[in-house]
Subunit: 410 residues, 2 copies
């Protein structure tokens, strides 16, 4: 079975390596003889509007592919659009499938997270119900690492490498002053603490790493936390805290929207969502009177800092894209590419697939047995798991002192 013409899209929050997966799909499809490798601009949303390009007209050389692998964010553009239920949104599906038919698309790829797999699931269900001969494959992507079945997701390793490396540098910076110092760093992850936990990878022979790690998996008791901070500050002069943006307090409220004395309001009286890090800083300042305390957000930088990508992550993202294309060429459909870990050390990984229906809308959090909640920390099992994923570097092509990216003109 030939791969035929293909359609590929990217969805959800960008990462440092989502383009490596795109490069993998593209290269495999090209090498398998696809006549057209269509890319949807801004995911399904763009496809609905008929906005597509033939990537073969834009990505012309193997050098282009290598630069694409090193380009952060979504080359094709992305969206947060969620495809509705086929029963309710029949017109959307009819429009999309008419377009796919017109372009003679035989294989359809969507690179994304939970929602994207839901989209693949619905599309393949619609195709089956309507007798359309087309393959649908999902390629995993999310810095959040929260997809089930797969050992991990492309994007997580590079974000973790950025977080660990930058945290390490910030600890050197903060420790340079001989003053009582608290540094709070806010890290992404609304419901799963994988990225925040990765801050522990800053620790080593030459660095103490974070002292406390607050994950969304463990509700925060503010009183106990303040007591623990106070005790640690009796023992040491510096305290480094990693906090997930998604931490909730005991009463279920997000720390980021915490009311009470620390809330900030604008002139109209609206509560400002100041962020978990900011609120934690204010809490410590208020309760313990620490003067030299700072909160830093890794913000969107942590998901697009391709200049310090993990080589393991980039290569795996690329392989996942290639594998997806080959599986589609073999006639497989309605599956997502997954990673199976064969060994931690030395690290060995195998590619496999799993039904998208089992992945769509499910969420994987950090296992409870890897969390040392009493000490606001994570256990060594997490380190064993995460360390292989940040290994190696794939430096960008540097031109004029800055990374070169492959960019699709609008």
């Amino acid at each position: 079975m030939s791969i035929g013409n293909i359609m590929v899209g990217q969805s959800g929050g960008p990462t440092s390596v989502i383009n490596a997966s795109l490069a993998g799909v593209f290269k495999a499809a090209r090498d398998l003889g696809a006549k057209h490798v269509y890319g949807m601009r801004n995911g399904v949303e763009g496809l609905l509007e008929g906005r597509c390009v033939d990537m073969l007209e834009h990505v012309k050389t193997d050098a282009d592919i290598e630069i694409l692998k090193r380009t952060p964010a979504s080359y094709l553009g992305t969206c947060r659009f969620k495809l509705g239920d086929p029963a309710e949104k029949e017109a959307d599906y009819a429009k999309i499938f008419a377009q796919l038919k017109k372009l003679d698309v035989k294989s359809y790829f969507y690179i994304g997270g939970n929602d994207s797999m839901d989209s693949i699931n619905k599309m393949s269900g619609y195709a089956a119900a309507n007798g359309v001969d087309m393959r649908f494959m999902g390629i995993p992507k999310t810095i959040d690492n929260d997809l089930v079945i797969t050992d991990h997701t492309p994007g997580f390793g590079s974000a973790s490498k950025y977080i660990a490396s930058t945290f390490k540098e910030l600890i050197r910076d903060a420790a340079a002053f001989n003053e009582k110092t608290v540094l709070v760093v806010e890290i992404m992850g609304r419901n799963a603490g994988w990225l925040t936990a990765a801050s522990i990878l800053a620790a080593g022979e030459d660095n103490e790493g974070p002292d406390m790690i607050l994950l969304p998996e463990t509700p925060l008791c503010e009183a106990s936390f303040i007591k623990a901070v106070g005790e640690k500050l009796k023992e040491k002069n510096t305290l480094f805290i990693a906090v997930s943006e998604g931490v909730k307090c005991l009463d279920g409220e997000y720390l980021s929207s915490r009311g009470g004395a620390s809330v900030t309001r604008d002139a109209f009286g609206h509560v400002a969502l100041s962020g978990a890090g900011h609120n934690l800083k204010e809490l410590i300042k208020r309760e313990l009177g620490i003067k030299r305390i700072r909160s830093i957000e890794f913000s969107a930088i942590q998901r697009c800092a391709a200049h310090i990508s993990s080589r393991t992550d980039v290569e795996e993202a690329f392989l996942a894209g290639q594998h997806g294309a080959r599986c589609a060429a073999d006639g497989m459909t309605s599956k997502m590419v997954v990673f199976k870990r064969l060994a931690d050390e030395p690290y060995a990984m195998a590619l496999d697939t799993a039904p998208v229906s089992e992945i769509a809308n499910a969420e994987k959090v950090v296992p409870a047995e890897w969390i040392d909640a009493a000490n606001y920390f994570v256990r060594k099992e997490f380190v064993t798991y995460a360390l292989p994923l940040i290994q190696g570097e794939l430096p960008p092509l540097m031109i004029n002192g800055v990374p070169r990216h492959l960019v699709l003109k609008k």
Copy 2:
């Protein structure tokens, strides 16, 4: 004249390359036969408290020196202590000089900015007035690039490379969505806009770069600015704004502490210094009703992101340290090492020295003729000046996926 025993200290805000200058002083002093290379812990403040180490006991190999060059922040620790006037603080000077005499120090080095050069100036003045035979040399350091006489300062190039590279990645990230988007990035520089101007280095064949650059050199008229933003958003879907933390409004107030409708207050009614970026974001949101608008602070990361140092900057910082040591060995005193630019393209630079008295407490801002105030932008003369300084990379020694640093145990 031999260099004798030396004393070296680091002062002020850390940078990615202040340790490269320390490595330069250390290596030259060692190679010139210094028996002891004393380092003051936490600058003059530590010296006053008698806290010194002999670096020869800690930095043992040339490999150590290479790792030190790649280690951000201050290996010896830093301080913000300002030496008082010798007439008023005689006891401090007596204490310091007694200690230097005890350790038989012949050459004294201080790596820092304006304040540090003031410190060198006072120390050498005291020595001359009291017949002490000792050389005093300043080594320039500041990401702010605001020292006079020297063409530029070590630290600026690496911070600029981080700012340009990360800004470029953030533009890719923000442009991935097909929505009207405004991104405000706050960059360091209280009185001088050198670093904020460096955001323009993100622009190139593959990137539009920032649309607007707000420097502290130009007072901000908020009404005109909002008008300009509104017009730009008619032409394009995305707007990227670089704003210095030190921008002042027409009435002289810092944008970061701007009152009025955008001010945030805590529950006690205290105005929160939310930062220039945050306030600019609030202003645009309020006046133009943009929904997808975000502000990001490069925070302390921009001064310690040694993982993306400029090789030009690291090597020049190292050379400056070595040159200072050699000049002291030749009997020179009361001088700071300066850079003289011989050519922009291809870049050529020479080392020289200038009297610290002419550098202490003076400040160099971005020249008015390099600023295009009417268009909230900088001119190509700035690019010609800054581009050579961010060239080349000096990747860290990566161990376990993160940069390795040389660290002095407390």
